[in-house]
Symmetry: D3
């Protein structure tokens, strides 16, 4: 991979930020994980609700959903509190829908009864990549929630088909780079978020040209970077969960 | 391209629905286009506003933005009116942000002064692919608006860098297909929306696995279908605009 | 009738605009009608809902209700989208309540079970008289909906007592005129909307002095004009419905 | 006038309820009036604001506007507080628009500078006819406000062209009656609100068939009743204001 | 008690304003009281609802709750209508929560079945101390409501343990004073609201230093004033209710 | 102090939970403090805004304000996200108003120009006493913000008059206890929050009888406990700030 320009952080083009996934950080939640991708810190909690959404009534299936929020001063300059403004922004809704879809893609919805698990992803500090940290951490929180349910006898096996994680890639100064921090992201020519499964399947891909259109070759290079990063994230998820 | 299963519409896998783009359908708007993709009908109007958003004040640059809505009975079963519910759904906001980004990607924002052009995309009838019809029609409405401005002497040249159009592709019954109608879309294993420029650059790509993850090979096949479809849409846009 | 001043449109004082009522324009609705009064175009759809409002539970009666909206660029200068503003204006609510009352006045609410029919009146283009076009078109859409229900065996007979239609009249340059377009309406001294039944009964009358009070004699002249116009509208409704 | 059936209140068909108009009931408002029509009590206050609405900037003209509300237990059974529900009902908005139009129709908007007078009409107790009591009382409050401004030297003369008052009429048990109380109103076949000037001009007329359409003859009888009642209200307004 | 500075009203430091409590002022409510503390007038109505809140279902217990509002021109300068703004202010919510807690503290919630009594406290005119007038008047309205229920046979005895009333005290010009009117309140160094029972128990105390912190000795002097004032209010409550 | 019953935590009646105040925990805020009172964790950030609220324009004075929020799963059972519900609860508004008033009471508002400092208090985990932890931590965050401003040359001296801190006390099983955790709080007969300055002045006191009224003697015992606790909190604040 070319490395013409130095990245602001000094990282190589295919290098993740320091990632830490800490489980069980919340005293009350059935599952939780604090996901740190460098200075981006997202607290993910999984709440077990004994009732599935009404559209699943009688189906025998459960649901996984997500909500997302940012603390007002998680950002460089303060962002107004959505509760005070009286509504969630389009960006917030877009992100929480993405998190929910990503997790459902690896969950066996027939495997835990007519229940709902609600993932709350709250950004304590933001430095780019909050949605990818949220997905990566939510998988861990969701796993812990299912582990708790298994212990309680509510499920026989953990109904997760395979791991899922997410990472952002982008074109910055003409170079394809992995896991952009805010400074890079805000100056990027294009950025793309990838949500991949442990076996390499694509769950979601969202690519956006910020300044001008990008080529298929560039897109494939971004995907290659994502595969490398997500492989590393999967390993960290397993380590955090203490599973082989 | 494999063609194992017949499509519900009898179309071949790489065949668009009948597309019609009709310009100047609205008596008042500075530009307008009714985009029909089969039974999906989207009315796109472009409104010229003499004031750019405040964050551009003094920059000499203009802005292009979009709003999206569905008539309550544009859908198979009636959808509640967002004005009556008091808020726009996450889906609506996601789509209108996408339309705005797509159009801005091919517009020279320095080329029409500190003004704003607002694209309203209203779905009169929906049968899948409303967002891609909206983008495709909005390009035409935006072009007509700039042509009007040129005639009025407000701009010297039409500040559009190249055409942009959008199409959906998906995996249906294991087969990659182009331009899904509602029946196919709701049963698809995966679907992806592509926004491409006239020269083939990628402006936006959004792929979602509805049932299970898809592979890189499948994704590339979807992109190939999109290229074919968007080439045809570009030709229809030019014909509607009466430009070579 | 005096005809001192020419009307902006060149119409005679008691002349309707060109009116077109086209049925079954929407692929999904149980009944629909596109009502054009000159440049005013209102799309009316009737949606059959199998549940009546809760206040009718157990009464054996059904309900007819209406919603009204304007596309943002249906108007000369763009009107903000009510869904984006988060609420419907007082004018919108006033109009949709009027439409609902007008249709219920000619419907046998005991004749179609505990169901609800919801009329959506969406203004595609506005040039004055949108509420009267909406009522006139809604009658046609409602009739088509009942015809559909009859065909399905849900009702034995169409539970409409008689036709209903509406027209605006006004005093413009001292002259009483029928069916004002926007240019006349905005300069009128007074305007009145009449909702009359096929047999000439008054269902609703709303007269407003815009500049100064008007006399009883003037009011009666407006009513006379309305009777003439509504007679013509009733004939057009029958023609559109293909009934004698 | 026929008088076949006794009215619930024992009043004759053309008899108003006991009406009391008391001025200066509020310690702070520039003008105020408590209007009692039998058991309907509406508190009307006029607030002088030194700024006209922005659409009048530079016009030299002022504005008169109105707001309307009901105390939760002004009604037989409690009505939910609109502030708690977070929005004003369509009925509330319809009424406050009517009050504003009615008062503007008799005000010389060029006669008090670029100011706004805001009328607040709050229903303390409701027994039918709250909107007509609100208009009748608002005229008195507005007059008192202008009198205050005259005393302060803000206007040379009271910029009111003539008095305005309002009354409801209706068809009850087949009989045309004046000033319906709640019991009559809720059982009426039709009802109409009339807003007339002191010289007999029509400012607003709103007639609604509640059960079936009514005839022109009936409508004219209602108007005749209204003329009689409003004549009496005008006399009471003058007495309350201490003007000849 | 020191009396260094004259109060704006000429009252002595420990003197209430003229207080009037009038029962049964509302024609429809199950209980009502108009509470006047000088120029502060609060209309309190009690509405009996046959259903308790859902969290009490099956408990055999009832609930008492309160809502509070101000008429727009109850204040020196007009306050925007909360229904028009679409939400209740923090102050409004704080006050209505306080009223509800205060009344529940003296009500035997097991003594009137699974019902709810809703107190509406609407400020007709405000001159300081609206929340204390609201609590004092609400007790009377609630008592009247229970008396009505007893008469109807819905309760055997009035389920009120003892009276409750409230008063404000404050430090003004360095002097501790009772029952502040607006002029004093807005210039006070500190103010405190006390809610006490007939037997002298403390139900609520809310003290706030407006300019600088106050001492424990000052706080105790305020409490002493409150005891004197509330003793007088209890006597007036009994007189209004016609109980010994 | 009597110690009849053991507290659930085993603490003595006048013993605080383990309190930790950590400064500068947020990378972006001008001042920040994570306040832990046992299992109650509140993140306090101070944001400097260069503009004061409009009511201070031209006064030369600044303002200190606060916002408060709880993460959805900060509580034992999940609390709905206020941003999703579209409004802040009455409790939230009550608390944020309290925090703002408390901090303003010890700030020299003339000492930092026409600026505003906004304190965001976000509850990461709740176990009783979140508002008192928020006030105690906000003082530290505010101090750090002023220290930053002093370093930047924006102020000459830190415009804080004296420290402020807050603690809850309550009556539990008949015993007066300090710093209630959730388990105690939810079973308490009464609870009171005290906001005191470093020199012992009372800034705010809010006492509420949860079950039955309490006596003056009990109230004074609660105040005595609060004085002891707040003395300890002041020492911890100084230590965290590294000031004598």
């Amino acid at each position: 991979m070319a490395s013409v320009a130095a990245r602001p952080s000094g990282r190589s083009a295919d290098q993740l930020r320091a990632v830490e996934l800490t489980v069980d950080v919340n005293r009350y939640a059935e599952g939780s994980c604090l996901a740190k991708f460098g200075n981006t810190h997202v607290l993910c909690t999984a709440t077990l609700e004994e009732k599935a959404p009404s559209f699943l009534k009688g189906s025998g299936k459960g649901w996984v959903t997500a909500e997302y929020g940012m603390l007002p001063r998680s950002t460089h300059t303060r962002t107004d509190r959505e509760a005070a403004k009286g509504k969630q922004s389009g960006r917030t809704q877009e992100i929480q829908r993405l998190i929910g879809r990503s997790l459902r893609a690896v969950t066996d919805l027939t495997g835990f009864g007519e229940r709902q698990i609600r993932l709350d992803c709250d950004v304590i500090q933001a430095d780019g990549g909050t949605r990818t940290a949220a997905i990566t951490g939510s998988y861990v929180a969701l796993y812990r929630c299912f582990a708790f349910m298994k212990e309680m006898g509510a499920v026989k096996a953990i109904p997760l088909i395979e791991p899922v994680a997410a990472i952002s890639c982008g074109i910055h100064n003409g170079q394809c780079v992995l896991d952009l921090e805010y400074e890079e992201d805000s100056a990027a020519e294009a950025d793309a978020n990838f949500v991949l499964t442990g076996s390499g399947g694509i769950v979601e891909v969202q690519g956006t040209a910020e300044k001008s259109a990008f080529s298929e070759a560039q897109f494939l290079e971004l995907l290659k970077l994502a595969r490398k990063g997500i492989g590393e994230l999967n390993a960290l998820q397993k380590a955090a969960l203490g599973i082989a």
